[in-house]
Symmetry: C2
Subunit: 493 residues, 2 copies
Amino acid sequence: MRELINYRPIARVVSVLLVIIGVLMWTGVPFSAYYDEPTQPLLYAGVTTLVAAGLLWLISHRKKDGRTASVAMLSIHKREGYLIVALSWVAMTVFGMLPYLYSGMLPSVPDALFETVSGLTTTGASTLTDIEIQPRGLLYWRSLTQWIGGMGIIVLTVAILPLLGIGGIELFAAEAPGPTSDKLHPRISETAKRLWFIYVGLTVLEGFLLYFAGLSPYEAINHALTTMATGGFSTRNASAAAFSPTIQYIIILFMFLAGVNYTLLYLGIKRRWSEVWRSSELKAYVGLIVVLTAIFTARVSYHTEDTLEQCFRDSMFQIVSLITTTGFVSADYTSWANSLTMVCFVLLFLGACAGSTSGGIKLIRHLVFFKNSYLEFKRLIHPQAIVPLRLNGQIVPGRIITHIFNFLLLYLMIFVLGSVVLSILGLDFITAVGAMATSLGNVGPGIGGVGPTDNFAWLSPEIKLFLSFVMIVGRLEIFTVLILFTPYFWRLN
Amino acid sequence: MRELINYRPIARVVSVLLVIIGVLMWTGVPFSAYYDEPTQPLLYAGVTTLVAAGLLWLISHRKKDGRTASVAMLSIHKREGYLIVALSWVAMTVFGMLPYLYSGMLPSVPDALFETVSGLTTTGASTLTDIEIQPRGLLYWRSLTQWIGGMGIIVLTVAILPLLGIGGIELFAAEAPGPTSDKLHPRISETAKRLWFIYVGLTVLEGFLLYFAGLSPYEAINHALTTMATGGFSTRNASAAAFSPTIQYIIILFMFLAGVNYTLLYLGIKRRWSEVWRSSELKAYVGLIVVLTAIFTARVSYHTEDTLEQCFRDSMFQIVSLITTTGFVSADYTSWANSLTMVCFVLLFLGACAGSTSGGIKLIRHLVFFKNSYLEFKRLIHPQAIVPLRLNGQIVPGRIITHIFNFLLLYLMIFVLGSVVLSILGLDFITAVGAMATSLGNVGPGIGGVGPTDNFAWLSPEIKLFLSFVMIVGRLEIFTVLILFTPYFWRLN
Ligand SMILES: [K+]
Ligand SMILES: [K+]
């Protein structure tokens, strides 16, 4: 009889992750050295992380029942899958905040934890009040946490979550096998390799473009890392408002690409355009950006004295930034008009395509809702008829529709409950809903006291810890985290 | 071959409704006479309405295909059912606002229309800035519109909507047959008679209790009419805050009863208590009120200098008033604390039991959501197992779960879109979401500029017309109204 949960593969995966984290910390050391900053924080944080990884490896490698564990031999079932996902994020957070603590850049644990979770979840909300006076090596690490988190989330949503049956995403992960078996499929590593290639390639490409457009290599690298992760951490206090129009347009383009399903990006690279354009989600994504940009441009140019080009650029930048949940800011969208503030708030709930690094609900789920709502009227008129929902030409089973609807409702329910918690912790109405929406959707800026020109530094430690948990819940598509708190998870039947 | 829509039964039903409306207008004439006010407005409005009813009757009674129509012979199908519901509300609104217009109490059409729709939908939001200086006879008519609307809604939700398959309410309407046939069932009239008896009985009982507790007969009648409708129109500017504790407790009791499913009230009258207590929705309803009252009492007593009894009474009154969507006010809930304002805002989305006069989403739908969410985790862990959702011991079919979820999401979507529209029409964030939530949920008071101590008089005519439409959409459970705007409705296949 097998145990309920086999902890050895979990320890193994986490230990491998920590090795990656530790080594990546060291990639910041050259920046620290170049800018004449202390190199110890990143160096020692890397050492600590690698030692911990080694210890975990030893534990996971112990002989058991006379067998040594090898990755191929390890049987990873659903329960282990959930725990790997959750514990990976916990472990990355615990060790990821060491540079902030060691350096004294963020000496308090709630601040350092918030900044790290905000990085790894690609949220981009910050507790730093003045970014430009911070050590460059540490800011690079801060950007890198987002890039690591972005990579993690692609592997998670394209390769792992569909196997766990989370969020109905088997629908849009054409590359991944359906959740027919309890065992995770070995094809994960093959898919992951392909995604890795696209992710790294686009990051490098954007970095070069930003550099040629005038950014320093350091800033080009930082912003390339946080754009492709739809993270939104910047090395400037004014975020992208500090940059030239050309740079802003480059960032818009790569935010857009970062919001596309990686399966489609892969098909695009292979020039299989007809398959790319079959995607209803991509059409919705492009259409939404076009329509909203037109409306915003008209409204903003009516409101300000700026040139039409600037109105267009500011509108498109903010819309793409919010829909992709990147959270870069090139203009204060809460200063435009009541109605545009309201629309921007609603955009916090959209998210771009599933299988991208973007957070939030994702457009595919909204599509399923809109299509089914329309069909529901047909079902009312013709109660005897069978009216199936089709997406990209395929019938979506009722069970998956229910699951997606349940996700949508749970998402909104958590938003509401979290807003109540934040108001109990002292926030006013607008700041509470703004902070909750932007944290759960992994966007970054919100409305009210956490608007695009504010930061999260002024919030109480309790609020920072609470929002850190919320960011992880949002990033891991809710079910992955909450399932650990149900009795079903901890008993065999 | 039959026509797509048979308009004769629709005209017939509307004409009967208008006769009732016209005659009921005249019941306000004695009040006008008693208080030395002009009697013409109500008198002439009644005449106009009855003349219109007569004309409609003649049209519906015309011979066609050599047959005269008799109600028994008329074949009412789904399409006619939807149109009857929608057009009834339109017709009642058009004629219901005549007294306001004829008297000059609300001389502008948007104001008169808003007040009438707010009455008939049992919302209770008002455009009157000073209620106490208004003619008594007209205020009686204003209260009566709510009572008429409340009666209409019970017949609708218990007897008609289940036949149309709207909102998954066949679930909780134990008395109504399922939507198996396209033809409306003749048992409607029998069920309606029973509901009518309970509704009238409780109204009379409350009226007497309020009178014995010290209200004038006039005020006792008015508040009994608007309590049982969960309407919330008052004859006092201060609403229920103007009354003694005893009267407030009586109103709490009857608001509570008005929020109970009428099928359960019927079983209660028959003393079939075991069947009453089997209802999960009733348990949730009672439990929610008890828990929230305890929390609010503690928080309010911490915040104010009031006696514990007053804190308890104020808390319970506001909670029962909001959950049942009555909207009477005995204390300003937005003045207590950020967190309680937020919770009160959330309460605008609850609604009491289905099959009562309360508006909003209704607890049964929330129950289905909560139960299914929990089961969804079980389904994730055991993907091969069939995990059905049970309510009151019965399995809820997947199709109905999907329909209920779709209702919930559509409700929230309309709330969001409506808030955007209101912000475009000039309202600030909090007032927009407050006005939208309270109108869609047929509650009455909101937050922000339409809080419990404010009214809707200051809003622009466009906003008043828009909110009138929203109140009707909310009251008729969304699908009933929106289906008229789909192509499916207007073509045979
Ligand atoms: K972000
Ligand atoms: K009401």
